[in-house]
């Protein structure tokens, strides 16, 4: 990074995720690009696993075990610092072993502690396998986001996706993050969405979103576009009344506190260049209202961000891809975006 000394780079810890998945090799691939990353990257995982995965993929990488308190060497392509966590059982690419569910949780615990003690500025999570963790003796496990929420003792977190390009490649303003879409509800059956969308929930989510856009993105007065729930945003109450009864009153209340909120807008007109160009973030009411657009519309690569935590956490936007694991064909693009976003957020949050 021109004009930036190594020491000023935020330290970003990557949890390498499910050992049988693509997480370890994506981290190794990223280490090959270490010199051009806007962060000092340190991996959390089993050093022997990373070494053997590197060998089998013919990646010439120096794995350097170190401790969270240690200084990191200057970023260099082909060198990866690792905070060691030991596998519970040997891991074969592509083959899940529930015995390693506890290992994955150990990597998360180490990352959370390092962030909270200031040894890392941010954490980035490679994909884990929910089923393997549940089968490994953690039946209550529901995912990264909930685990972090509970570990940090907060009530509400918000899932937000961000991309590295604006719609159709058009840059606007801050080039690090041209489109951000946050979700008011996440992994819910569609039939449960309307009931879950209460005024209280919407208010909490909007406060977290507004607060973290200021805190972690350096936006003084974030402009947020809010989707309606119903077709045509309810069209004056003819196609559903949640806009009138829940969304509008909540937006009005928060506007009196100075939040810059536009909406509720029909989702199918909001997600067009004319509207997106005016926004720092979009709040979608449900998963498939907000996320599919990031996948097919040419926004470049995306990554997930968890807002509302006392630490910075981003993650890749894909799963463990067991069928690709060990083959070296997986694309580290989303991990790179996740690391860049984490570094940006950490810098703003300093």
């Amino acid at each position: 990074m021109p004009g930036q000394t190594t020491a000023s780079l935020p330290r970003v810890a990557i949890t390498t995720g499910e050992p049988a998945g693509i997480g370890p090799e994506l981290t190794l691939m990223l280490a090959m690009q270490a010199a051009t990353l806007p962060a000092q990257v340190v991996a959390i995982g089993d050093p022997d696993l990373l070494s053997s995965r590197a060998r089998s993929l013919a990646l010439d990488i120096d794995i350097v075990p170190c401790r969270p308190g240690d200084d990191l060497p200057a970023p260099q392509a082909g060198r990866l610092s690792v905070w060691p966590v030991s596998l519970r059982a040997p891991s074969l690419a592509g083959t899940l072993d529930p015995a390693n569910g506890a290992y994955v949780l150990d990597t998360l615990d180490l990352a959370i502690a390092a962030c909270r003690h200031g040894q890392a500025s941010a954490m980035v999570t490679a994909p884990l396998h929910k089923g393997a963790i549940i089968d490994g003796g953690h039946p209550g496990f529901t995912g990264h986001t909930e685990y972090l929420r509970d570990a940090c003792g907060v009530d509400e977190v918000v899932m937000m996706l961000a991309t590295d390009q604006a719609l159709h490649g058009v840059a606007h303003g801050d080039t690090s993050c041209p489109l951000r879409v946050a979700l008011a509800t996440t992994h819910l059956p569609l039939r449960d969405v309307a009931d879950a969308l209460t005024a209280e929930r919407l208010e909490r989510i909007l406060r977290v979103l507004d607060g973290d856009l200021k805190r972690h993105f350096g936006i003084v007065s974030p402009r947020i576009l809010v989707c309606g729930l119903n077709p045509h945003a309810g069209e004056g109450g003819h196609l559903g009344r949640e806009e009138i009864e829940v969304i509008e009153p909540t937006l009005n209340r928060l506007r009196t506190e100075g939040l810059d909120l536009t909406g509720p807008l029909p989702a199918d007109t909001l997600f067009t260049p004319r509207h997106l160009a005016t926004a720092d973030a979009v709040l979608a009411m449900y998963h498939d209202q907000g996320l599919p657009v990031l996948k097919y519309a040419g926004f470049g690569r995306g990554a997930n961000i968890t807002l509302g935590l006392p630490l910075v956490r981003t993650s890749v936007d894909h799963g463990t891809a067991l069928d690709l694991a060990g083959k070296g064909t997986a694309d580290p693009g989303s991990l790179r975006v996740a690391v860049s976003l984490a570094a940006d957020m950490a810098r703003h949050g300093q």
Binding site: L167, T186, H187, L188, P189, L190, R191, V193, A194, D195, L229, N230, P231, H232, G234, E235, G236, H238, L239, G240, R241, E242, A267, D268, T269, F271, T272, Y286, H287, D288, Q289, L291, P292, V293, L294, K295, Y296, A297
Partner: protein
């Protein structure tokens, strides 16, 4: 001659929106006039106002009944008397505008039913104005169904380029969308889009069916409609001879469609398809009213009140709506 040159009724849409301007701009395109016998149906002053906003002036002759439309050599105007200039203000929801729109559409449907025109292409209308102006139905499609006394299944198709979409529910609250997912509706939407694609010249339409829930229900952990209803319905579609596949999650089905894997996509609720289509090309989308005895098309966009009366409306979607009306009208006339 009617087989070679369809007769198209073109309406001006809501007078408070961009419709009249779009029709003026459409007729300005030279190759449009040669594609069909065009009859503009609407109040003369609305037509003149549309031309003024568009900065265009066409002298087109008047006819006194749709029965005369087919005999004309160039575009003609069938003047109506539905609304007064002093009752219209741009960009306002207005029941009088809604009534005007409904009257013109009835006139066109009656003409089409009588075989006087082969298809209808209507400029954008405003549903709220129509409801205030007497529309009793959930949307214009059901108004058409009622007026044309259709008793078989109907479906609104949205098209973008070569991709057509149908949906099993439309203008209903999202809270009710899941209860509308039934095997019958999926089969019917698949059948309707299959037939329409055949009519549009696609010999063996490939149809993708969307899932309802995030990640297609994640094996039943995030909703069971995929397992209990949608997958069995797709099997039934295949048994009936339609090349249907799915259910595919919302975030991948349109990527695959965009890459040319499907000719048609069946979606489970309004915004699932609309967000995707509008994002992929809002200005070019067209809505086709499927399952009616006569072809009816319209641009997918609305009255665009924010730019109404300003001369800045983009005519591209109106042009595509007109082109599809011509194609389907020709097919209709040749039956």
């Amino acid at each position: 001659m009617s087989q070679a040159q369809p007769c198209i009724a073109l309406t001006l849409g809501d007078p408070a929106g961009i419709g009249p301007e779009l029709v003026a701009k459409l007729l300005e395109q030279r190759d449009v006039v040669g594609k069909a016998n065009i009859v503009v149906v609407g109040d003369r002053w609305v037509w003149e106002e549309g031309q003024r906003v568009a900065g265009i002036h066409h002298e087109i002759p008047e006819i006194s009944s749709l029965a005369e439309a087919r005999d004309q050599t160039g575009p003609v105007l069938l003047p109506t008397s539905t609304i007064k200039p002093e009752d219209v203000e741009y960009a306002r929801i207005n029941g009088l505008c809604g009534t005007s729109v409904l009257e013109v559409l009835k006139l066109c449907m009656d003409g089409a039913s009588a075989g006087q025109v082969d298809a209808i292409c209507f400029a954008p209308l405003n549903k709220l104005s129509m409801k205030q102006g007497g529309l009793k139905h959930e949307d214009e499609l059901h108004f058409f169904v009622d007026h044309l006394k259709v008793e078989t299944p109907v479906c609104e198709f949205n098209t973008l380029g070569n991709l057509w979409t149908s949906r099993i529910s439309s203008h209903i609250p999202l809270a009710e969308a899941a209860s509308h997912v039934t095997s019958e509706r999926i089969l019917s939407a698949t059948q309707l889009i299959h037939d329409a694609l055949i009519a549009a010249g696609i010999e063996q339409p490939r149809i993708g069916v969307a899932a309802l829930n995030p990640h297609a229900g994640e094996g039943g952990t995030c909703g069971r409609e995929e397992i209990d209803i949608i997958a069995p319905a797709i099997d039934a579609c295949r048994d009936a001879g339609y090349a249907a596949q799915g259910p595919f999650p919302a975030d991948t089905i349109f990527r695959r469609a965009r890459d040319g894997e499907f000719d048609g996509v069946v979606t489970m609720y309004h915004d699932q398809g609309q967000i995707a289509l509008k994002l992929m090309g809002f200005e070019r989308g067209v809505t086709v009213q499927g399952g009616l005895p006569i072809p009816i098309t319209t641009p997918a966009h609305g009255t665009a009140f924010d730019i109404a009366g300003k001369g800045r409306a983009n005519v591209e979607a109106m042009r595509h709506a007109f082109d599809i009306a011509c194609r389907m009208g020709r097919h209709h006339a040749s039956r």
